[in-house]
């Protein structure tokens, strides 16, 4: 069994989660057992998995595991039907769609919050004392059961979290006390787990214990560390194989080339605990070569982190496109969206009908505001759309209707969005940065590579694609042709080679 180790399946996932999710899906569809192990407590996990298109059987969350709730079907629990409220004594008064008050003789004794995006399903109940202090908060899982209880300190800060099994028994508690005068979680205590208690000082110690419990007795276990901040945990897992999957460049300043210092977070695998890993996967041959030269003790293999489904390929065959330039990914400085705006301004002058779509969540609300201000100053509000984070289906629709994908990031391990784009027959215009662009784009064939930071060149390439339909069709066909390499069977063969090589 392959185990991908992640923090969480988030509501807004990054490429790392998408990669692990895709790979797990790919493996399971092709008869290779794979699961994702996640660490964070997430009572909306079932919903987030659904949005991310993950089958719940392929994820084991640590808290769910100890709570015995990994395999619980959803049972919608409307707040007005929750049996815990004695409605012959208390009133429930709806304040708005998001929460209601529980009232006793007119006094607010509890705040009942609604699960986001639902009508009246219970999400949490916070009880108040007669001085109006919060005393206890009960947290409900998306699947409709009481999952945890929070107790507060006198000043309202979180005190103790108690996690429950379906019978309501406490199985795990987190205590929040002071470390050097600062309130922090200080203890994770597993209660009566297989008849014993276990105390941990840090969540990752519990996480290690959890992974060991899951992979115990699996002689085929391959534990894949997907996130660099979890490498130190995976390093100590008792399993036949531990590998690290590098989703981005290990270089601190990729523009300096291989001589750049490495990112500190890569220290664990590359320097401190190399011996504990049977190997590392990277996404491109170039990154592998660089690593081989600098870290000869690490067994590095190339493996793709994404595949394109046949359904996507079929959808991508449509040649009916809108004059839309798609930018997919997080709106953050390392992806240089201000460069995108500069490029689009030039394109828009040549092609007034052109639109720019950003699909992805911003690094911060402030950053989004800055981008919007720029758009406003350029008088491009009608042509630039910020779509936010899109679920799988909506994102696929964008890929299938846009004309070109633009990439201006500082560097790319491979560039999942560029792989996805070619699967949908979308030409890609990208800065020529490390590592992915030159692997995925054959300049002038399925897109254009322009020198890093050259907005004018990028604008010119895009303008050509939007105005020269022959050129676009040619690149569209080439993209689809190249995407054959990204099909499941090809990717899986590739991956198996990598695993074999790292043994």
């Amino acid at each position: 069994m392959n185990y991908s180790v992640l923090e969480n399946i988030f509501t807004y996932n990054s490429g790392t989660e998408h990669s692990a999710i895709n790979r797990t899906k790919l493996f399971n569809e092709n008869g290779i057992e794979a699961k994702i192990l996640t660490r964070n407590y997430n009572r909306f996990l079932a919903h987030d998995m659904q949005l991310a298109g993950v089958d719940h059987h392929s994820v084991i969350n640590m808290y769910d595991y100890f709570q015995g709730t990994t395999d619980v079907a959803r049972n919608e629990l409307p707040l007005r039907l929750a049996k815990q409220f004695p409605l012959d004594e208390y009133h429930i008064v709806a304040e708005n769609a998001n929460y209601s008050w529980l009232k006793r003789a007119g006094q607010n004794i509890g705040k009942i919050e609604v699960l986001p995006g639902t009508v009246g399903l219970i999400s949490s109940v916070t009880y108040y004392d007669r001085f109006n202090n919060p005393t206890v908060r009960e947290n409900f899982d998306w699947r409709g059961f009481k999952s945890s209880i929070d107790y507060f300190h006198m000043n309202g800060e979180l005190g103790t979290q108690v996690f429950l099994n379906l019978k309501g028994d406490p199985v795990l508690e987190i205590t929040h006390m002071n470390i050097n005068g600062k309130l922090s979680p200080t203890m994770w205590k597993l209660l009566n787990y297989k008849g014993k208690n276990y105390r941990f000082n840090f969540e990752d110690q519990l996480f290690l214990f959890f992974i060991n419990e899951v992979v115990a007795n699996d002689p085929e276990a391959v534990v894949v560390s997907e996130r660099r901040n979890l490498d130190y945990v995976v390093a100590d897992v008792k399993a036949p194989q531990r590998v690290a999957f590098f989703h981005d460049s290990h270089l601190l300043n990729p523009t300096d080339g291989p001589k750049s210092k490495i990112k500190p977070i890569y220290q664990q695998v590359l320097v401190n605990q190399t011996a504990k890993f049977s190997g590392a996967f990277v996404l491109t041959e170039q990154q592998k070569q660089e690593l081989n030269q600098q870290y000869p003790n690490l067994n590095v293999s190339v493996a793709p982190d994404i595949y394109v489904s046949d359904d996507d390929l079929k959808l991508g065959q449509t040649a009916e496109r809108q004059p839309v330039i798609l930018v997919s990914g997080r709106l953050a400085p390392d992806r240089r969206p201000f460069d995108v705006l500069k490029i689009f301004q030039q394109v828009h002058m040549a092609v007034p009908a052109a639109e720019l779509h950003f699909a992805g969540y911003p690094a911060s609300p402030t950053y989004l505001d800055q981008l919007k201000d720029k758009v406003k100053n350029d008088h491009l509000e009608d042509s630039v759309k910020f779509l936010g984070y899109l679920n799988r289906k909506k994102l696929n629709d964008e890929y299938a209707t846009a004309s070109v994908l633009l990439n201006t990031s500082l560097n790319e391990g491979l560039g999942m969005h560029m792989v996805e784009a070619r699967g949908f027959g979308l030409p890609v215009v990208s800065y020529d940065v490390l590592y992915g662009p030159k692997v995925l784009i054959e300049d002038g064939v399925n897109g254009n590579l322009v020198p890093d930071g050259r907005t004018h060149a990028a604008a010119k390439a895009i303008t050509t694609l939007l105005t020269d339909s022959d050129k676009w069709s040619q690149m569209h066909r080439s993209a689809l042709k190249k995407a054959q390499a990204d099909r499941a069977d090809n990717v899986i063969a590739h991956f198996e080679d990598g695993v074999a090589a790292s043994r």
Binding site: K83, F85, Y127, D129, F131, N133, T135, F152, M154, T186
Partner: protein
């Protein structure tokens, strides 16, 4: 069901507990089922009720009830049963503090394990996290489970306190929070009932009222009412007025209702009973232990609530039928008193009376049986010692301490003295007359001046008049015939407190409850015929 409501059943019982236990015995003898409702949390409750002879079947502690722990098979928890979840630990004994310190191999403190008197059974465990914070104290019930866990705040105060079932389910929480003035106090309670319903309460009084309702529901019957007898007013004088369904509620006076018992008509009310006396007609009945108090309550309040006089002491049939010790076989001049040496008992006056007697009859002596009350630096004992010195009574007056050998002492002594400032009943003087002791008492409300009948079984002398008491004693000491007459009168007068007589008094209360029950049901839109939830 008939409920006796009390705070707990401590090892050192006061008159109220003794009264309840006598009543329990009487009810059992007449096959009338009853339950002790114990309101306060007490981790040693079942040890003490066992000693007091109360079986678990007749006991419902409020906390026990919520904790689903009314019937738990006791098991002893020692340090070996504890699981700290930490590897490589050892326990260092700390004998002076009757505890062990549990530490890691590196010497970091994991827990302090505090023991009970046997130095082995775990009483409580103070738990520390990996960063040396005391984060919780687990308190064990003597039956061997964690009953109350107190969560600590980073500044080392008790924050939230939670009670759990023997299987570790949290069912009740209370919170300590700062009020608007910044003073930390209990700010609320949160209860999860057995059916999963969650209720919050501002105070323990509200929680108690809910408990009374649950009890009324649990033992509900249209055939007869539940009878709630409130033996400590503060536990339910308000709460019993919150019953949702009808019941028969009884305010039991165990002390003077008036702050100055000698001024029963006009003095400011005894604070313990102020609320109940003002809400008197909200109860169905008021029980006093003496006719005199019943009379005074009637005279002052003219209540609609029924008044019953039911002695809180019972003289056993065995004692009533037992052999009588003639005065000539008793130690001439031996006076005894059974009372705590406390301010309200005013025993220095008794010493003075004996001191006066001693001048004429040197054979007189006084033995004081009872603990010395420590309040105000043993003020009462110091007063007694001063009086002994004043009358030069060294070797005549002896402070004997507490004894359980009442029969032995009272079958040898001749007289009993009582000089209290106030009384609720006084079981000691009842014991005295039932043993044929000639009693001398101040005319003090309530109990002494009814149990002691002047000229029948001794003398009642004016309040605070120890000289008159001395004169009465001298008269008896000088007149053997009179002495025998009073002693015989004492034995005879204890018949008033025979099991049959006291039971008859209770029976009349139960009869009243049953008689008005159909009316109560009808007033609550219920009837004995209709199918009301059983």
């Amino acid at each position: 069901m008939i409920f006796f409501i009390n705070a707990t059943m401590q090892k050192q019982k006061s008159g109220i507990e003794h009264a309840e236990l006598k009543r329990f015995e009487l009810f059992n003898a007449h096959h009338v089922d009853s339950r002790f409702l114990i309101r306060d949390w007490d981790p040693a409750l079942h040890d003490n009720t066992k000693l007091a002879g109360i079986p678990d079947e007749n006991l419902i502690g409020m906390f026990d009830y919520f904790q689903q722990a009314t019937h738990v098979k006791p098991k002893r928890i020692t340090i070996d049963d504890l699981d700290f979840g930490v590897l490589n630990i050892h326990a260092d004994p700390d004998l002076p503090n009757n505890r062990s310190l549990v530490k890691t191999a590196q010497g970091q403190l994991v827990a302090r394990v505090n023991y009970r008197e046997d130095h082995e059974t775990v009483r409580s465990v103070e738990l520390f996290d990996g960063f040396n914070n005391l984060y919780r104290v687990d308190n064990y019930d003597t039956r061997g489970f964690i009953s109350l866990s107190q969560m600590y705040t980073p500044d080392n105060k008790v924050g939230t306190e939670v009670w759990q079932t023997p299987t570790g389910h949290v069912v009740l929480e209370t919170f300590n929070r700062a009020d608007a003035q910044g003073k930390v106090q209990k700010s609320g309670w949160r209860l999860t009932d057995a059916d999963g319903t969650i209720r919050v309460f501002d105070t323990i009084e509200e929680l108690t009222a809910h408990f009374f309702n649950l009890m009324n529901e649990k033992f509900w019957s249209v055939k007869q009412p539940n009878i709630f007898i409130l033996d400590r007013s503060h536990l339910g004088d308000w709460g019993l007025l919150q019953l949702k369904k009808p019941a028969y509620t009884v305010m039991h006076l165990h002390n003077s209702h008036a702050g100055d018992a000698q001024e029963p008509m006009h003095s400011i009310l005894n604070n313990n009973y102020e609320f109940a006396m003002n809400a008197l007609d909200s109860y169905d009945a008021v029980v006093s232990a003496t006719h005199k108090q019943t009379h005074d309550v009637e005279a002052r309040f003219h209540p609609i609530a029924k008044l019953f006089t039911i002695p809180v002491g019972v003289v056993s049939q065995e004692l009533l039928d037992g052999p009588r010790v003639p005065v000539k076989d008793r130690q001439y001049g031996k006076v005894v008193a059974f009372a705590r040496i406390a301010w309200e008992k005013h025993l220095d006056d008794l010493v003075r009376a004996v001191g006066i007697v001693h001048k004429e009859v040197p054979e007189v002596s006084l033995d004081l049986y009872g603990y010395a009350d420590a309040s105000d630096n043993y003020r009462a004992r110091r007063a007694v010692e001063k009086a002994i010195k004043e009358y030069d009574l060294d070797g005549v007056v002896t402070m004997k301490g507490y004894t359980t050998e009442i029969d032995k002492v009272e079958n040898q002594a001749m007289m009993f003295g009582l000089t209290s400032r106030m009384e609720g009943f006084n079981l000691a003087v009842l014991e005295a007359i039932s043993h044929g002791l000639i009693s001398f008492s101040y005319d003090v409300n309530y109990g002494p001046n009814e149990i002691v009948e002047d000229g029948v079984n001794g003398n009642v002398v004016p309040f605070n008049d120890y000289k008159a008491m001395a004169a009465a004693m001298l008269k008896v000491l000088k007149d053997p015939k009179l002495a025998q007459k009073y002693s015989t009168g004492a034995y005879d007068s204890s018949e008033r407190y025979s099991p049959a007589n006291v039971w008859n008094a209770w029976q009349s209360l139960i009869d009243d409850a049953n008689q008005i029950w159909p009316t109560k049901l009808a007033a609550a839109h219920m009837s004995a015929q209709e199918g009301v939830k059983q």
